[in-house]
Subunit: 481 residues, 2 copies
């Protein structure tokens, strides 16, 4: 007993300490370890993080059958066969399988196999290069501590809301039963994806949005097309509304949502999907001169600014640059490379755009696919964002239904594409595609934007006929006039 | 009567005469016309060509329901619902609609709307810059004649074959009834796509292949995966066989196929999909010093080599560079630009790789999607072709089922991806993807290959999670080691 305590009390030194074992943390540790550094990851919940258990994986497991059914209904010869309710227990069981039944054995084995240590518990910074786990075990970092604790859903300060114990993205992706009536608050990605999934699984869904449309970070037509389709699926959409109060009399009982208009909506569940907050409130930021609960300001090598000695990194959601799993992993690859270069004493150019140690895509080429029906996908800057950033731009739109590959893909195809061109360099600043079957098309635009491929050269990138990708030809033809 | 004859006999002068109103010919005329040149198109069959009525469009209209059903069967909650025979009349009716019931009114209207003249009839060259239609009407070209007559299926010299009146791609894509037993000869794109379609529509299909595998122009794993899947669908595949003789006693009666092994196969229909020959045998090539029936040798501006005055172009299938609709259209855009530049007296660099007047992608970045289940898609050079061309290469393979986006897309996902890297320039020479839902993914590789985007920069082209496109990350990680 005394020996154990002594062991626990002794400092354990690593080259790199990672707080948080989500995809971002796992990748920082992986890259550092691959570069020959020792690494430990501290995690208080499941190894694998939000994405594996309560976000990307379960949401897409719920949404894929919805898309497959929608697409089958839009081809001849299957319309009637596919016009059936989804087999709900089968879909939920499949989702459970994809989240490994909320167990992290597989991910732990993966860390083990790489030789990365895992410490379970709540890690807090305790001054420079020092992390204390659950108030006991002390870890020290020779080179870097990377904060990869991610973000959580935030509840707005609406009277009665917290007491009503609403769903957030976690509960919405892990629920075991289908609520009869579901109110969703928020028209961003979580709101529209979960409205789509639960409506298809049988819920009566009301979607409440503060602004005037859905998916406000995308081109306006994305939100319009998704709204139109949600309405056709029977989702009741109300825009421009505020929730004034929420009441739930008994746990598990119905919940009443009062709107500023005076209307009341009674439902069985309420999903709040209005925003995220960094999980930095209880990780000892104050011990290194930072404000607990704040987003971390970082340079392009993901190093937190204003911390003496440059040993602290903030990677993934915590730095607010791009709250997406794949962007967290991207930053993790860059941060891992930067940490190991610095550990070797190699000077790095953290402001070298598109360089090996400078996160660049997370500002200029962030792709995102929203798995609604139609899918909405975008990368880079919207027309409005590009204009605001001072670029001299030209915007080209194309109706996707006019593309042969799209009309072959689905009867009554509806969709739209846009490219935003930087007229000075004649490269793509951004692109948006909305329609069925466009999720994989997005990466062509991501390569074009991140690769800064001149439009003159894109003219030689011939889309295969007849695919939906042929929209590229139409967009480029329209640009060339 | 005499007046009419006189009118017909007078020469009609255009800047550009196009022989053949398929997609290639239409696009040559369109580009020339857009550049201010007058253009006429001569067509003896339907305006819109092979692709619109007997190839891409009808084949994809037949294949899309097959893919949608296969995909629905691979998601939870739909397996049983989608496990139904296709509604054959609905599929065939849909196909008929997509080929506009083999009428070209829509395409004619499109030519009309552009101001491009159409002459119906069989056009033959009659010396330099001169085309005679049906032996009467004479057209002369101030600047260029473009031969865009395409290709047709060729029947191998097998005894009894021609007499048995087998299907070629035309009949296979336009048939009005489902043959009970269908023998397909040829394991290229037409063979595997039509075996897939007619098997799904109910035929008992035997696929006979001379070589040892399918899709011989792609990476070997493409043919393997498609063969495996065809076998599971109930297609009887025999490789390494030659057809020695064919017998059909009565028109419409059963056809007997004799193999070199001595085996006989009796079927209701026989599809020959073993190769193409240029439609140049009866277009007056002899009047300009070329051999009738030959493929046309062209430079990168698509100008036929060895013809004095440089007024003859060979665009699309006829030049044998890449027998694909989208490559014909690509060449048409380049040829149209070259013709109009030369007409204006602008000197052009026809050997300027990736330049505005030099077809380049049709050698270095030809994309193709085979709409089988799984889909097979490739662009650029295969590993073998790159090695043969003398590149110093590295080949990276990735099992697609290990990609989260793929496993979410379909239960039991099977697929594979390969990239072929030029080690000297560190750019992609080619890529191949085989699996469900990868048709639109191909264009990302097409942009990377045609754009010669350095792998170092592709590292910043982050695939959205969880899509199948994430295979890019795995391929690049493997390359970086």
């Amino acid at each position: 007993m005394a020996a154990t305590e002594a062991t626990q009390a002794a400092d354990e030194a690593y080259d790199v300490i990672v707080l948080g074992a989500g995809p971002t943390g796992e990748n920082v540790a992986d890259r550092a370890h691959a570069a020959g550094l020792s690494a430990v990851v501290v995690e208080s919940e499941l190894v694998g993080g939000e994405c594996s258990y309560w976000a990307c994986m379960p949401s897409k497991a719920l949404l894929r059958p919805v898309a497959a059914r929608a697409e089958a209904r839009r081809v001849p010869g299957l319309k009637e066969a596919a016009d059936v309710p989804l087999d709900v227990p089968a879909v939920l069981a499949h989702r459970d399988e994809f989240v490994s039944y909320w167990k992290d054995d597989g991910q732990v084995r993966w860390l083990d196999s790489l030789g990365i240590d895992l410490v379970r518990g709540h890690g807090r910074l305790a001054g420079p290069r020092r992390v204390v786990v659950d108030g006991g075990r002390v870890l020290t970092a020779r080179h870097a501590v990377a904060v990869c604790t991610g973000s959580r859903a935030v509840l707005p300060p609406v009277p009665g809301l917290a007491e009503a114990r609403p769903w957030t993205s976690r509960e919405a992706t892990s629920a075991k039963t289908v609520p009869g009536r579901l109110v969703v608050v928020g028209g961003g990605v979580v709101g529209v994806e979960m409205a789509t999934a639960w409506r298809a699984l049988g819920s009566s869904v009301t979607l409440l949005v503060r602004g005037d449309g859905l998916l406000p970070r995308m081109e306006p037509f994305a939100g319009h097309l998704v709204a139109e389709s949600l309405a056709e699926a029977g989702v009741f959409l109300r825009t421009g509304v505020e929730v004034r109060e929420v009441r739930r009399e008994a746990p598990g009982g119905p919940v009443t949502v009062l709107l500023d208009s005076g209307d009341e909506i009674v439902a069985d569940e309420l999903l709040i999907a209005t925003g995220r907050t960094p999980r930095t409130e209880d990780i000892g930021l104050d011990t290194v001169g930072l404000a607990p609960g704040s987003w971390l300001d970082v340079d392009d090598s993901l190093r937190v600014t204003g911390v003496t000695g440059g040993w602290l990194y903030g990677v993934g959601d915590v730095n607010r640059r791009a709250l997406l799993t794949h962007q967290g992993k991207y930053q993790a690859r860059i941060a891992g490379a930067a940490i190991s270069a610095r550990a070797r004493g190699v000077p790095i150019l953290e402001s070298d755009r598109w360089g090996a140690h400078a996160a660049t895509a997370d500002r200029l080429a962030v792709p995102q696919v929203v798995f609604t029906d139609p899918e909405a996908a975008s990368v880079g800057l919207t027309a409005a964002a590009a204009e605001q950033a001072g670029y001299r731009t030209r915007v080209i739109d194309q109706d996707l239904s006019a593309v042969a590959g799209a009309s072959l893909y689905a009867d009554g195809y509806r969709g739209r594409a846009r490219m935003v061109v930087d007229l000075d360099r004649e490269v793509l600043l951004g692109a948006t595609f909305v329609g069925s079957g466009i999720a994989e098309l997005l990466h062509s635009a991501t390569v074009a934007v991140a690769g800064e491929v001149p439009l003159e050269r894109l003219w030689h990138a011939v889309p295969s006929y007849p695919t939906i990708s042929e929209v590229w030809l139409r967009l480029l033809e329209a640009y060339r006039g």
